[in-house]
């Protein structure tokens, strides 16, 4: 008897140790929430012993690999070809474009030695690849038939960030795609900028449910070497905007420096017009985590979830065999239809498994017990709404696929509503201050996003601890009245927010 009494207690203790409930308020304590979910859901590990470098763990990598697929498919459909360029850039290339070197120099990691030998020329670990790619473009592009020339690479880049690093959001190594395109005319190049915004819209917003504003950055905040920069600003739950994929119109600046020319139909040699675009999957994932997650943990979009449907069998020693068999059948049918599925056969209690997979953000859960098998029904749990549905075993694969789509649509709709509510029309400095205090984005009139507006932007930075993010690029917004800072005539409608 003693033995029997002891066993359950031991088990209980063991089970408690493994219990993974997640209960942190995302709204009230976003920073803790974000750190904790990264740890608990095993997304990344910060204990790697080089400062600012992060290890990305399987649950996150499997999501981000799917994000790479989504973005690369879209880019290829839009005529881009993939390439792989070296990770190192010789110092002389790097120094060719004045603004570019000025902007990136403080961030470069330098490779100076190989074994015991000092390299003849030191090499930058690429912080971005313009100066690696364009010398090759000069060799490849010959005539107008070669244009448009649209190429991208999936790559890591390395930046010696001096701001505080945070996994996924800002680290010294990050994972992105950079696309670099060349055109015969300015007009075509500027059309590409809009196409790039459309790519962000299609992937980040439509598929992953993260809304954003496409903002033309003020003169003082553009990409080093660009004519202008369009940043995609998303919002985090703590009310700070985060720059997501940005696209840059480079004009002919780099082309002239790297000698990227083509012979036009009229027989004349001309410089190309260039654009570049850089969606960072690791950072987009930060928005995905933050936008959709809740106090119980992650809520992953169905489209990228490593496991889309978790099957939790409710069994005892008597009916285990029959229930496992049915669970395996259901798993197989879903897998055959391309749905990523797993049966959780661990000996833990169903409730623990429920909490665990909710914390991991698995979109749909099937609960399967004796009753369900008898009634030819399945209990379907929806991670986002925490709603339970009884569905018929007949046609369940189709129903589940449809539920997956509906689930992603709900995530997007909820995010859209939240985002819309957080953009506030402001007239005065006080209005703006209040909006920022309420963790919102202020929309207001502004004197200028050209050089002459920089003084007012400095007031925003110093007094409001926020920044002028720019004007809508995808939509014309007309200013009326005065700039709330200098009281001069406002020529622009800008967005002001605290940022990462």
């Amino acid at each position: 008897m003693k033995k029997r009494e002891k066993e359950p207690e031991q088990k209980k203790e063991e089970k408690q140790n493994k219990k993974v409930t997640f209960n942190i308020s995302k709204t009230n304590n976003f920073s803790e929430w974000f750190s904790e979910i990264i740890d608990k859901a095993e997304l990344a590990d910060l204990r790697y012993n080089v400062k600012g470098f992060v290890v990305f763990r399987p649950w996150a990598v499997r999501c981000m690999e799917k994000m790479y697929d989504l973005i690369e498919d879209e880019l290829q459909n839009k005529g881009h070809e993939p390439a792989w360029f070296p990770a190192v850039i010789p110092e002389k290339n790097f120094k060719l474009e004045g603004e570019h070197i000025k902007g990136f120099s403080p961030q470069v990691f330098w490779v100076t030695h190989a074994a015991d030998t000092i390299l003849e020329e030191k090499m930058a670990m690429r912080p971005t690849s313009e100066t690696a790619m364009y010398q090759m473009y000069a060799l490849w592009i010959r005539g107008y038939r070669d244009l448009p020339f649209k190429m991208y690479q999936r790559a890591q880049v390395w930046r010696y960030e001096t701001k505080a690093t945070r996994p996924f959001i800002r680290s010294r190594e990050f994972y992105w795609i950079e696309s670099h395109d060349c055109f015969a005319t300015e007009k075509e190049a500027e059309k590409q900028v809009l196409e790039d915004i459309d790519t962000t819209e299609k992937i980040m917003h439509q598929k992953l449910g993260v809304p954003f504003l496409a903002l033309r950055r003020p003169e003082w905040d553009k990409f080093p070497g660009a004519v202008y920069t369009i940043g995609s600003d998303s919002l985090m739950p703590d009310g700070r905007v985060i720059q997501q994929p940005s696209t840059h119109y480079l004009g002919q600046g780099f082309a002239k420096v790297f000698n990227v020319k083509f012979k036009d139909k009229d027989g004349k040699e001309k410089y190309v017009y260039q654009t570049c675009y850089g969606p960072a999957v690791s950072r987009i994932f930060a928005s995905v985590i933050s936008m959709h997650g809740d106090d119980s943990g992650l809520v992953l979009p169905f489209i990228i979830a490593p496991i889309q449907v978790i099957i939790v069998p409710i069994f005892n020693n008597e009916n285990k065999a029959i229930i496992f068999k049915k669970a395996d059948q259901i798993e197989q049918e879903l897998k055959n239809s391309g749905v990523r599925t797993k049966v959780d056969k661990r000996e833990d209690r169903p409730g623990e498994k429920f909490f665990f997979w909710e914390m991991k953000g698995v979109p749909l859960r099937i609960e399967l017990g004796e009753k369900e098998i008898k009634n030819k029904k399945l209990v379907l749990f929806l991670r986002d709404s925490k709603e339970k549905k009884i569905i018929d075993e007949k046609n369940f694969v189709e129903v589940i696929k449809k539920e997956g789509d509906l689930y992603d649509k709900r995530l997007k709709d909820k995010a859209d509503k939240w985002f819309k509510d957080r953009i506030v029309d402001c007239k005065t400095k006080d209005d703006i201050k209040k909006a920022l205090e309420e963790k919102k984005i202020a929309k207001c009139n502004f004197c200028s996003i050209g050089k002459e507006g920089e003084k007012c932007a400095e007031i925003v930075e110093k007094e409001l601890l926020a920044s002028v993010r720019g004007t809508r690029h995808d939509k014309k917004e007309i200013a009326k009245g005065k700039c709330p800072f200098c009281r001069k005539k406002a020529n622009f409608v800008v967005y002001i927010a605290k940022s990462y």
Copy 2:
């Protein structure tokens, strides 16, 4: 009239400039063949201005991305999870395992500066990731339930190669997957080595048609830090073997250094047993190019070809519209079935297009003219055998898919036959010499692959300019007679070859 006479001549000249025939003997001049096809088929560009670093161009990248998919699917099916580890390794980690540091030190690129700052500790650009990954394994692995622990990363590595570099074959940056697994027992770990060989067999041999020998390397040629190493040796047309995916049984050496322990069922802490495995997609692609290509250019396996079916419409100004429409229809139907297809609508002559796509290695070509449309037939050209088949328009998608499978099978069968003929049983040093002169692999008795055999191996290197590659690991081969070098009793059957 004058105008009409001039035009065709201008066009002719233009067309000659664009003509891409490829006619180099792979058998007689492999080295030139390999360099030229890389250039003509736009696989890689060697003009990047850092020595030993190569730019990989879209046609190659699209093949290698598919190779990554094949390998990653196989690894995931075998229970491996993907992760991303930092590209840099702190010097102290790197120095922890004595043999490892000795082996890799001469090859390491060192990052010493960030911007103008000297780093407190210099960092190695990973030449391989044992010393990055295992410190994290020590944090993640706790108990026997965590084992087996099977993880891989898709990554580039950097090695300061002092041997001559060659694109795909050996360069200072290469693209691979490295898989690092931990087990509770030696037995399980050694079983993993066999599983890894099976992965190479499934992907490189069965799917890509590149045969190989799984050879246990002699003591003096194993991976730095390993107990033993199994290399997969493929053969190049010039008779030199090239090491393809190798797998290493690491024993507990790294585990002890990096403190990778687990609590076993008996409650005791034990060190794990480890294996690692590194398929390099860029190098496997070198074998794919070399094994299947012919004097007309590339012959790509159907399974990885960026374009599997090229449709060449045969048209004039009168029937262009109708033929293009039909070509588009066929393209769409193939695409809908997941076949990568393209219609070549350029104004060049059909013959030029034929040569071009043959050089690029596209497996199947559909020729489509007025006659074919009228007869509801398609002309199908097979790149490998250069055979033409007339197929019915009815069910053509299924027929083409089947032809794709048959085509890949033919490539494999041809390669297998070629490889088999190139392994020669040898008894004497003269036999071996003759085999090597005939660009073959010599199979012979040998005294020992332990330390005591190294003297004979030195004779092989000095006198025959070849190396002892090792013994079959997947199959027992029993030695009879004497070692042809020292005349002592032979204990092993080894393979001797010239190598890359």
